[in-house]
Amino acid sequence: MATDTRVILICSGKGGVGKTTLTANLGISLARQGLTTAVLDADFGLRNLDLLLGLENRIVYTAQEVLEEECRLDQALVKHKQESNLSLLPAGNPRMLDWLKPDDMKRIVDMLKEQFNYVLIDCPAGVEDGFKNAMAASQEAIVVTNPEVSAVRDADRVIGLLNTNSIKPVQLVLNRVRPKMMANQEMLSINDVTDILALPLLGLVLEDEQIIVSTNRGEPLTLNSVNSPAAKCYLNIAKRLQGEDIPLIDPLKESSGFGAKFRRLMQTKIF
C-alpha cells in the first residue's frame, strides 16, 4: 500500500542514552499526524519498547514467529489502544540472536513496508551483530547521543559505520540537555556536539524527570503530557522528520532573569 515508506534506524552506540524513549515518542507523534507507523523492537537481548508503550500484556506473537512462518505479520503486530495508527512488532526470544541474519531483518522490514508510512527500528546498544542486522534493513538513521564525552565518542563510531554502509540521511538527536549546565559551560554545547560529529541536528530533547513518570505508567509523554518540556521536543522532532521547518528551541533562553543574562554574556566568543 505505502510505497514511499521511510525506514529509520534509531541507534547510538552507547547504551542508555534514550533510543527506546525516542522510538516510543516518535511513534506516537507520527501516528498522531495521521501517518501509519510501525515500531520494531530490534533489541532482542534486552527488549523494552513494549514496556514503554504499555503494550507488554498484549503480545501474542513476535518477530520470531513471523520469521519462522508460525504466524502472519498482522497476528504479531500489536496495535496501540489510543493511537490506532501505531503498531509494535515485538522482539522475539533472546535466543533469536544465535541465528538471526541481516537478511532476516530485511525480510521483516520488507513486510512492514507494505503496510506502513514509517518503520522505526529501535536498535540495541553496541556496534556488534544486533546493530549490524538492524542497519542492514534500514535506509536512514537517527543517532541519539547525550552531551557527554563517552556518548559522543560512541556516536562517532556508529556514524562511521553508517557512512560506510551508505545509510543516509543520518541525523542527530541530542538528548538530556540541561540548559543551566550548558549555560555555565559545564556541559558540551549544542554546537560542540554538532561540530564534532558533523551531523545535521534533527532536534534536542531536554532533560525531563516526567519521563520517569511516563515510563512507570507505560504512557509516553507525547501521549498524555504533551506540555511537558521533553514532549514538546519529541513533537518537534516528528514534525521536522515530516519536513516542517520548526526552529530549534534555544536552551539558553529557557532560563530567564539576571542570572541567565549573565551566563549568556559569559558565553560570548572572544576568539
Binding site: 562517532d156 563510531r157 558540551l188 559569559m266 558565553q267 566568543k269 572572544i270
Partner: protein, 112 residues
Amino acid sequence: MTMTLRDIINKLLRRQPASASTARERLQLVLAHDRSDLSTELLDQMRKEILEVVAKYVEIDVDEGAVSLETEDRMTALVANLPIKRTMTGQIQLKEPPKQSEEETEGTDQKS
C-alpha cells in the same frame, strides 16, 4: 580553538577552565585517533621518523616538538609543530646540508 569570555576570565584568575572546553578538547583528540585507525605505536613510530627527517635539515627542539592528529568536520589531518632553535643572532640555525647520496649527486650532474 574558540574561547569564550568565561574561559578568559578563568585564565586570568588562574582558575580551571569550565569543564565543557576540557571535554571538547579531549574529545577532539580521542576522535582523531579513533577515526584514523592508527595505533599509538604506529603514530609514535611515525612521529620519530618525521622528527629524524626534519632534524637532518634544521636544529629542532625535540622535547617541544609535537606531531599529532587533529580533526575537523570528520576530516583528520596530521599536524606537526616543530619549534626550530635559533642562534644568538636570532637566525634560524641551519645545519650543514646533509651529504647527498651517490644517486642524487649523479642526478644533479646530468642536469647541469
